[in-house]
Symmetry: C3
Subunit: 473 residues, 3 copies
């Protein structure tokens, strides 16, 4: 029997094979590799730091919460049942976490050439010091190895947070959230900085699931029932103030389309009342969302919270999976997205105002060079978010830099976001990003487009400075 | 006078010039270069193997049947008349095949940097052992050289089929085709495997040219006049069974848009009756096509034929050429194509069913990373077809791998298709594909994204395994 | 204090770092670097050659006329006021050109990795022999250095024209222009060839600003009031004849969409009359523009002027800037553009006619491989313009060649355009283009796709021959 292949991460991984580029890339990377991590946008559950309990086991740490992973196994015909994904109406049908881990290991080859594979290898190798590649043969041994480590104090959430050198971690929170974990953390004496981000989609989208309930909750949070559009605006302003008092620096808006359009007060009130009666039309929801982006920009001008727009995902494309398992199960599919016309009203009203920062993301790479870089390269308020989701990858980031920089420069971009639910993947994702950006800059140096001294400054900005500055951290 | 330049194919052609990448690429390529050819989708006329006669002459072998070639000459102002392309209503105006060959040779420089140029050089050099480049000066000599070879038994179609190591070759056939050549070949004792593919566009598109005549023919084939929608469905099921009995493993659907939508039985019957009376509207045709994609998926779930969807070509864009010369004359132009919404109904109904394989192709590269890789990276039934037509090229394939792999991996892709009418180009096209994929994998190895051992397995899968597996061959 | 960094342009800049590619690229570049410049499309003011006065100062030479530059500073929150951009209604608020230059220098780092940065470095280094990088510390010294040079006879416009080896320079002129500067230059005895280009957007777009006034002026120019559509057509034909007599070889059409559609004479007259009465609808303007593209193609067939279509910019996206400062202030944003359907009517009517040359440009790179290369690779009349505006850059040109060549070859492309208002940037832009194309060809050679001898011919065609041939110069 062949010995299991060793898992070793080459120190020059992801760099161009050309020796002169590689040498420059490596140098640039070494100068930013150990910089603190600024994570201004993500989805880690803050309760893990409140509780600070050991992670339960490798399967529940890596596989079950990460739709990047089980999406791929599902695409090859492996039912979610066998992966232990819990259906909405009960416990998972497969509860043997070792068996699930084995299945994952057998199919680990599917991740060859994917960023998920690169992140996992980093997590196994750097975070857990695993020395063998994950295969069917090594599955149980690696499971045990990681499991044992998880019991150690230094693998608890807060210890890892510190080990990862996270300077600040932003969560993403509903407008109705109490932010209780954030409150506890602030008064706990622990120095880790975990801040909330205000994401009001559940109430600004008139067709959101449980909209009515969310609205009622919003009323409870502000101590005043939300019976009208004007009270709704008041409640949101109130909540933003609260979020800001809890350390929030940003808001986030997940919308189908980035369409922006201001309604009259009368129109807004009418639609809101129709929605309260359960009669909101699809058209209402579209227009109201477009209007609320305008309102959110107005509030950001006033309170200084950085506005983030994340458009263009057709969420829950696969109805069967959605109905059985709920949201975020790997079946969100990007759509073509248009920005030039859609953002026009918002940018005309607020885009010249230096008090506003609006960071725009896209899942439609065709808009990088055509629409987003020209917009960000003109309007003072607009910055371009990093390569997002499916494009948060080696090739995806390379395309982003290649299509954005020549028109917008790097100084109209917002640095890196890890955008992850998988806490342990944070250092892996930042490391990959730092490597890819170092390589991008090295190519510029090797082609004599910038000189090394300039690249060194740009490198620090891309890895650390721009995120901090853009998010006002 | 300068001697004519030599035609030599460099053994490292198409590989990255970086020595370390090139060395790995070459190694990977050598391990797959001689693997048998699986050609699961193409347009070679099966009668050439039935008749097994010598090809007539170089002009009629290379130029006249290949719209990839005369398209380019036409774009530079050379009339199709001068290239011997036969108009629909009579013989070609230029019948001097040597004169046409000379014209082709004079303009051969137009193909610099194109895949057509690369394929032709391979055919001249590897298949026909031509030693000089094709120019005005060498035109007649090369004509004679090839002409003489064509008279030899080893250059007859069946001999070439064997020499090319074709394991299986799929043709593409109308639903009304008798498959007589396939029948003859099966009973001929010749071992070459030539299988049909069921392409019912001529009857599923209510606006297809000669739809009524095709429908009548369909009725004759199944021995039952097609007077209703339900009889139409029955006839198609019947024909699929027949195709399958003749070795078919797949169906193919050339549609303007990949829109999928199920009609009620009543709606379908109504449109069908309207079409029978010659009154189908454009809207009818669009909806009926969308519905027939649903029906074809349903039948594929039942009979196991792999479904292929080839959307997005505006066929016969140039009316003058179409009216005078007919279809497939180099004037089909790609259109923007949308998949996320269009495939939603089909994927929701059948995409979770492991019995279905639906291979989706595109001429719109913007959909690779945005729509197709995320869809293929989630739905078990969906696989992504290779870079198609204009994108079946060195850069086109490189963009495909770069935009698809990080989200879908390689295991949700369908291997290579040559999709050609030009039989002699088959080994050229597979060789180019194997080189480009080897180079892609070599870059992954050189950048330490996968290791060599993994790349070696992936290489065999890309060159051979995936086509065989996806098409159930 | 650190000494100011030296400004040196590496002789291998922009070439691939791989030594074998670089060596070939350098060789190809050296053979075209000193070829004369053919500039068939641009926006230089011809009066500078008529007057031939010294340029006033560095700020007014480089910064104030160039929206590529102040766009970037504006995007970082620097008001146009501080950059001395004159508002429509009066003089600029900041008139201290040295202070503006300092501000520019302080922010020069924003151009790292942009083509504007590369062009400026060329202009400073090659044209003005500046030896230090532009920074806050060197700002005043460099200002003085350039200012002194500008006083020398050899830095006057005509001398620079000759020094730059400009063989021909086309301006872009309204249909109502007297072409007086062109007339003066022709009779001046100066050998510099400066020709006009006929751009009738101001009268063919029924919604153009001051349409009525432009129409009246058009009537004055032809000595016959334009009271009807037929007189309008007559006037345009008359003006084209005049432009041609003044050396024009081309027309130019800046349109929102490349939609082409022929109206009946009755429809055209009706819309024209409605516009005369001030009642043109938006729909009228769209259809009339589509119709005028057809008419312009018809006239080009007759008079041989090369037709250029520049679609897809949403001009003056930022209303505040537009209202205060006017057009061309860095706030034009590209839009998604469609060609396959939009150009169909024009190409069907005139695209097979060898007397027509229509050069199509795009700001939407997604159309290169999908629509434009297939169209240009088929229709004899159509050629593809070079990478335009935001895409006139190192990466932009590389993407253009990679996406266009395999389908259209290089011989259906139109060579390079500098398209600039900034006269001194002309040699910088041609040099960059020659470098990028040399590098593209070197990659083809190094990958054994073309051989060196072929690349040498292609190199001369890309740098010089194609522009000259396509524009009939």
């Amino acid at each position: 029997m062949k010995p299991a292949p060793r898992l070793t991460l080459n120190e020059n991984r992801f760099f161009d094979p050309n020796p002169s580029v590689r040498k420059i890339a490596r140098g640039l990377y070494e100068s930013v590799r150990h910089l603190p991590i600024v994570s201004p946008h993500g989805h880690v559950d803050p309760n893990i730091f409140v509780e600070n309990k050991p992670f339960s086991n490798p399967t529940e740490l890596f596989l079950i919460p990460d739709h990047y992973i089980y999406r791929m196994l599902y695409s090859q015909g492996i039912p979610l049942e066998l992966m232990g994904i819990p259906p909405l109406d009960g416990p998972p049908s497969e509860r043997d976490v070792r068996k699930i881990w084995k299945l994952f290991a057998e199919n680990y080859y599917l991740f060859r050439g994917t960023p998920t594979g690169a992140w996992l290898d980093y997590e196994f190798s750097v975070v857990f010091r695993v020395k063998k590649k994950l295969t069917a043969a090594t599955a149980h041994h690696i499971y045990d190895e990681i499991y044992e480590k998880l019991q150690l104090p230094k693998f608890r959430p807060r210890a890892l947070f510190e080990k990862f050198k996270i300077e600040v971690l932003s969560t993403t929170d509903a407008s109705t959230d109490t932010l209780e974990p954030h409150q506890i953390l602030r008064s706990s004496g622990w120095k880790g900085k975990v801040i909330p981000c205000f994401r009001p989609d559940g109430v600004t989208n008139l067709k959101a699931k449980n909209w009515k309930e969310s609205l009622q909750l919003l009323g409870e949070r502000v101590g005043k029932e939300v019976t009208s559009y004007s009270r709704f605006i008041e409640a949101l302003e109130n909540r933003r103030t609260f979020f800001k008092s809890m350390g929030a620096v940003s808001t986030d808006h997940g919308v189908g389309s980035p369409h922006t359009h201001e309604l009259t007060l009368g129109e807004a009130e009418m639609m809101f009342q129709r929605a309260l009666k359960g009669g909101a039309t699809d058209q209402d929801a579209v227009l109201f969302t477009a209007h609320m982006l305008m309102e959110m920009a107005r509030m950001s001008v006033e309170d200084g919270l950085v506005m983030q727009i994340h458009p263009g995902s057709d969420r829950n494309h696969n109805r069967k999976i959605h109905e059985k398992y709920g949201t975020d199960k790997g079946c969100d599919i990007p759509m073509q997205t248009e920005f030039t016309h859609n953002l026009k009203e918002l940018l005309n009203k607020y885009g010249n105002d230096p008090r506003l920062t609006v960071i725009v993301f896209t899942l439609d790479e065709t808009t990088y060079a055509r629409e987003l870089a020209p917009l960000a390269g003109h309007y003072p308020a607009m910055k371009l978010g990093p390569a997002w989701w499916f494009h948060d990858s080696i090739e995806g980031m390379a395309r982003y830099r290649s299509m954005v920089t020549e028109t917008a420069g790097i100084y109209n971009t917002a640095g890196f976001n890890d955008d992850t639910r998988a806490f342990v993947s944070i250092p892996a994702r930042h490391d990959l990003s730092r490597r890819v950006d170092s390589n991008y800059l090295a190519e510029l140096v090797a082609r004599h487009i910038v000189d090394l001294n300039e690249a060194e400054q740009m490198s620090v900005d891309l890895a650390y400075g721009l995120a901090k500055k853009t998010y006002k951290l």
